[in-house]
Each structure stands twice: as structure tokens, then as C-alpha cells.
Amino acid sequence: MSLIRKSAADLGELIASGEVSAVEVAQAHLDRMAAVEPKVNAFLHIDAETTLEQARAVDARRAAGEELGPLAGVPIAHKDVFTTRDMPTTAGSKILQGWKPPYDATVTRRLRESGLVILGKTNLDEFAMGSSTENSAYGVTHNPWDLSRVPGGSSGGSSAAVAAYEAPLSTGTDTGGSIRQPAAVTGIVGMKPTYGGSSRYGLIAFASSLDTPGPFARNVLDAALLHEAFSGHDVMDSTSVDAPVPSVVEAARNGDVAGLRIGVVKEFGGDGYQAGVLARFHETVELLESLGAKVFEVSCPSFTTALPAYYLIAPSECSSNLARFDAMRYGLRVGDDGTRSAEEVMALTRAQGFGPEVKRRIILGTYALSSGYYDAYYGQAQKVRTLIARDFEAAFQQVDVLISPTTPTTAFPIGERADDPMAMYLADLCTIPTNLAGNAAISVPCGLADEDGLPVGLQIMAPVLGDDRCYRVGAAVERALQSRWGGDLLSRAPEL
């Protein structure tokens, strides 16, 4: 098997045993990127020399006898919303074109400390607002399963890079589904940790009460290894949870669901869901039963108003967070010709620097926070948020995890929803409740839809700090399905 098709865990072992060097592994992935990037366009920034330098440093540390972690020397694609000192950071926006941050995000720092080798920065919907990566100011990313379709979003560059074997691992951020949805539609694993379980320091903010960094990988164990590598308490993030990281790697190796109580969310299914998505989901429910899990139907009535609540809360927070892009201290400045005031320069810069979806959300958020509308919109959405958290609490009294399809449909064609914001928002229907309540959820591949032959994701939701349960159930499903299929789902993707 070529190096690019190996798991991160295997690559880590091969490098540790000295069978291959980190430089050889990095070079194999850089070669793959050179070959497929013209078709996939997953990366916004690639710098082979910086990548090889990091790989050489890992090889040198190893040669000096240093004790390194399980992912030392393994390459990773890094979402371009985390600050990096040695690479530009744009958040997919023109307003940050060419910006080189003066500091590393905590997630970036921890990747480096774990010896992970950063291959480059991946494409995303501008400021992580979107479900297709079409909102990037730097062009669309293509789904490796069908290049005419979206790779999901907002972390679509990260999902495509992993699905196209350009990287065994990547980072993402999940505010309303931006890790789980792209993972589902590209046939890979994507995890949204418990809110506060991974640091937001140096993550360019979209909606601060929802944003959560998390891992992408081609299998559950690799995702868990990456989760463990960059998670944990951070004094630089005041919403960081001061508790041990749940034992996710152990859970991913375990994968025993015998006796586990699994709840099927009653509200997620029916009208608006693609038949092939529901078929694969129901088969997976039966599979879990055959593995010894006890399956119940659970009703979470507030989940039906999660989407409208989210599209008030997230834009409200975004309208406040994005005020920092004021053309004064960093980033783009437009129209500063000596005659215009700071306020005029600010308004011109923001109009030119932000794309349409970002502008829509800033205006929507400003509206929801206006006096006279605040109680009816933002205030009411916050109450719905409480009800959703209560639904989860009640459900987790009865069951250990909840499951649903990750997305109502498979990957949609590029352009289909680009100018229909409401249709685009529906892609996150099943993933949003978890962001509002702050608990953990994972998406794992559960087959291909019959209609279009495209990947379907299973979402597994666990209580706050119950991240290990996501990996345990994910590993069980992965193991059983792969033995049925005789390989992983991605091995059935067309050659690029």
C-alpha cells in the first residue's frame, strides 16, 4: 500500500520504527497534492519547503533520541481559520488576503508540539459561514467522489483533502455542523468535541458560543488520536473546559456496544430526507442492534426549532465578532485617499472585503440584536436554546447516545444552492442542536445512497464530555461495516 493510503496511526508507527522518515511521508503527500489539487482545490496555501522543514525537524528530534507522540511526523492539512505564524491565514476572505498572523493558535501550537507536519492551509466558506465551501473568496473545492459536487462546508477543503488522500488527517471547526456535514458528504470521519474541549484561542471567531475545533480522518481511531493531540484545557481561552480530555483513543480501540442504549431521534427523518440516506441510516440502526445495542425511539421536540434559533444566534454573534475587521489594525484597507473619514474607509473596506453570505449574516445579526426586535428574535432564540439543552438532558436519562443521519441529503451539485440561502441552511438541520447544547457528536460513514452512489453519514451524539461514547459507537459501526464491505468506504471512490 502506498504511503498516502495508510492510516495516520500506521504512518506514526512506521516513522517511529524508522522504516520510513517523516520527510519521505511528507514528500509522498506533497506529490499527491501536486497531482490532484488541479482537480480538487482543497488548499489555499501550500509551501513545500516549510512542510519539509517541519518533517526534517521531526526526523532530527527522533534521531536525537527524543520521545515523541504517536502522530509525530504524520502530515496534516490545517483549516485556514486557525492562525499560523509561518503561513498566511485568510479565513477564506478577501479582507484577510495575505495576512500573516504574529502568533499561533493553541490548536496550531499543539499540532506542532505533537510533531504533526502541516502540509498547508485548507479552503473554507468565508469565516466558516456556509455548508458547501462555495462562499470562499478563493474558489470552490470539489468533492473527490464527484468533482461536480460540493465537499460540504464550511470545512470543505479539510474534508476533500482527507478524502482525496492528500492528507491522512485535517483540522476543522464546527459551529453548526461544519465538521460533521463535510465529513458525511465525503465519506470520512469528522468529530465535533464537547464545546470548550478544544481551544478557540487563535481560531478566527464566527460565533463564539458555538465554535468548536475538531478532527477529520479516514477512520475513527485516527480521528481520536488527533482529537487527543490538540484538545484539553487552555488558559488562553476563558470558555475552555478545565477537565481531563475524555479517553477517546481507548474508546476508539474498544468499539464495544453490547448493552449500550441507543436513541433514534424521532424528529430527524421523513419529508425532506433523501430516500438513500434514510435507507443506509435504518440499516445501520439494525446493524447496531445486531451488535447487542438496545435501540429506542426518542423524541426531542425542540430540535425542530433548532435551525431558526441557530440562524438568529449565530448571525448575532457574527455581527459582533466581525466588527473587529475595521481596516485599522490589520487586513484590507480600501479608499484611504486622505479625504475619507475612518468610518467611510471602514464601510468601503467591509463592503469590498466581505462576500455576500458574510454580509447577509452581519445584517441579519444586527437586525436580531436591534432594540425593538431583541426580545422577539435573539432573546427568544436563547430560550429555545435552553429547551434544546433540556431535550438532550431528558434523552440522555434514557439512552447513552442519540443517533440520526448527519445530513438530510448527500453532496449537492456545485451551484445548486449558492444563491438560495435557506436551502443551503437546511444542510445543517441535524447537526445544529448539538452546537446549541454544547455536547459532543461525530459523523462516520455508513454507506452510499442508491440514487447517486454518494456517501451517507451516521451522526452519533453524546452528552457533554461524553466524547468517548461517540468514538466507541463510531468504531463499532466502522468495524462491522468494513468487514461487510471488505474495506473502507473510500476504497470505493473513483480514481482521481
Binding site: 464545546y195 458560543s209 434559533a309 466588527a323 437586525y367 447544547a437
Partner: protein
């Protein structure tokens, strides 16, 4: 009746410091009308006695020891600035001519 008018969108754009073109205003007004119509569904939830949640996890008063730690140098802090003068951010005038 529409949920939001073009004039309201223009007002919100001014508040948000977005110098939108006329065609953008037309486009956004129509789209925001649909979006606001959809999100207004939150009003149908009976929640009078429900406390609001601003955050997923209740954390209050998170402190760290007040110790001096290295920060950015002036050069680092200014490294991304659109304009710099004498180790400071150079900005357009903030007061009107008449002020």
C-alpha cells in the same frame, strides 16, 4: 406584508458599516425577507417561563493568576497593519472637518 423592507436593510447596513451598492441592497432585502420569515418561527415556541441560555456550558468568573507574560513586540503587533507611522497604527481622520 414583507418582514423587512429595503430601507430597513439600508439602515442596518449603515449600522454595520457596510457600504452596500444599490443592487446589493435589492438582492439582500429579498433574501433577508425570506430568511427572517423562516427564523421568526422561534416565536411560536411557548417559552415565557424558560430562562435564556447565552452559552452551552455555564462558566462564570474564569480567572488566571495576574502574572506578567511575554506579549507581542511592537513590530509583531504592527506587522499586519495597513499603514504604520512611528511605531503606531496610522488611521484615517476620525473627526469631521467641522469638528
Amino acid at each position: 406584508m414583507s418582514a423587512i423592507t429595503r430601507d430597513e436593510v439600508a439602515h442596518l447596513a449603515r449600522l454595520s458599516r457596510l457600504a452596500l451598492a444599490d443592487e446589493e441592497l435589492d438582492h439582500f432585502a429579498a433574501q433577508l425577507d425570506v430568511i427572517i420569515g423562516a427564523v421568526a418561527r422561534v416565536a411560536e415556541v411557548a417559552a415565557d417561563d424558560i430562562p435564556p441560555s447565552s452559552h452551552a456550558l455555564p462558566l462564570t468568573n474564569v480567572y488566571r493568576p495576574d502574572e506578567v507574560r511575554p506579549g507581542l513586540t511592537p513590530q509583531e503587533a504592527l506587522s499586519g497593519a495597513p499603514a504604520v507611522e512611528d511605531d503606531r497604527f496610522r488611521v484615517p481622520r476620525i473627526l469631521g472637518e467641522e469638528a
